[in-house]
Amino acid sequence: NEDFVGHQVLRITAGDQAQVDKVKELQDLEHLQLDFWRDPAQAGSPIDVRVPFPSIQSVKIFLEAHDISYKVMIEDVQLLLEEEQAQMSAARAR
């Protein structure tokens, strides 16, 4: 199983179209290995992106440099996956 230890999901709120376009630039940076759960669409609509641990610092610096607000939606994706697996195992056992 691929593990997602340290991966965070950020919820980004772009205040205007220029900020939406800036976030779209992130989509083109393949080396960051970003996984957009909710793509950039319109100003005010949340953008959710899973960020692998090695890219977290770069992404946060990019967002802060362009004054784009965000919050950490999921602190560690792997913890949620383990919780999900445990629930499935428990359900089978029942």
């Binding site: 199983n1 691929e2 997602f4 999901v9 919820r11 393949e30 996984d35 957009f36 759960w37 909710r38 793509d39 950039p40 669409a41 319109q42 609509s45 959710d48 899973r50 939606m73 999921i74 994706v77 949620l80 996956l81 999900e84 629930q87 499935m88 359900a91 089978r92 056992a93 029942r94």
Partner: protein, 311 residues
């Protein structure tokens, strides 16, 4: 451990592909007069692609198509599809509105629309979204099956890069998972509603995604979407937005319901199910049944409208 009947099946947890396929067999065995299982094709990795047909008789009746899980990591959709299947067998003969629908129309439900991807989410990568087909000349795997339909294929709103999550594929219908549905729906020829279910972000969308041109039936679809969303929200207060794909989210070409609408299936909709508690694709299993329950109310609204507005 396998469920002995669909009554003891646990609808409030996520299941593997094998468990869901076993469930389908149980449902057919328990309801042979109402439910049958049809294999419409095989996936890239040669898994069978199944559709459940719910029918009370008749020959090639007007029909409703529902698919869940074309994006494999959206687990609440496959789980909701399982719940819908059971709900159909429970409500027929009990709920007058639904009974009238099934007395006049057939329902086809594809619970695992992307079996290879779904199996991969269980075995290897929980975050997998695409199919598992290979692209010659690329190390990257998979095509976004919601960009592979013959509706504005190749236009802006999909990627030509095989490594992208929205890779459209080398040509329309290149994916067996898509082509199987295309062939089945075209051979059938009498679908009147086509509903494709995704998660998350709480939206009910109608065509188009590939063009900003409004569909000819925009007013009716908009009103119907409004009614469906109101019905959905009436249960737990879940808030949905509705509208055309391109106006509500962004331009997306090669999408499922743009194709179905262009085939003449007027009542074409796509759902994005719950996003509760900021968990995204990792929606807690405790949310499966509430999500399915509220979505069912919206589905009923669309199905009833389809029954009452023949075309």
């Amino acid at each position: 451990v396998r469920a002995q009947s669909t009554s003891t099946f646990n609808y409030a947890t996520y299941h593997t592909l094998e468990e869901i396929y076993d469930f389908m067999d149980l449902l057919v065995a328990e309801n042979p007069q109402l439910v049958s299982k049809i294999q419409i094709g095989n996936t890239f990795e040669d898994r069978p692609i199944y559709v459940l047909k719910f029918s009370t008789g008749g020959d090639n009746r007007p029909a409703i198509w529902i698919d869940t899980g074309i994006h494999s990591r959206e687990w609440v959709t496959q789980a909701s599809g399982v719940w819908f299947a059971k709900k159909i067998t429970e409500d027929y003969g009990q709920d007058p509105t639904f009974t009238a629908i099934l007395d006049n129309m057939d329902i086809y439900l594809e619970i695992v629309t992307n079996p290879d991807g779904f199996a991969f989410t269980h075995s290897t990568n929980r975050m997998w979204r695409k199919t598992r087909s290979r692209t010659p000349g690329s190390l990257c795997i998979g095509v976004d099956p919601n960009r592979n339909w013959d509706a504005g294929f190749g236009q802006p709103g999909a990627s030509s890069n095989p490594c992208s999550e929205t890779y459209r594929g080398k040509s329309a219908n290149s994916e067996a998972e898509v082509k199987s549905i295309v062939d089945f729906v075209q051979d059938h020829g009498n679908f009147k509603a086509f509903i494709s279910i995704h998660s998350y972000s709480q939206l009910l969308l109608y065509p188009y995604g590939y063009t900003a041109d409004p569909v000819p039936d925009k007013e009716e679809l908009d009103q119907l979407a409004k009614s469906a969303v109101n019905a959905l929200s009436s249960l737990y207060g879940t808030k949905y937005k509705y509208g055309s794909i391109i106006k509500t989210i962004y331009q997306a070409s090669g999408g499922t319901i743009d194709w179905s609408y262009n085939q003449g299936i007027k009542y074409s909709f796509t759902f994005e199910l719950r996003d509760t508690g900021f968990r995204g694709f990792l929606l807690p299993a405790s949310q499966i049944i509430p999500t399915a329950q509220e979505t069912w109310l919206a589905l009923l609204t669309i199905m009833e409208h389809t029954l009452n507005h023949p075309y």
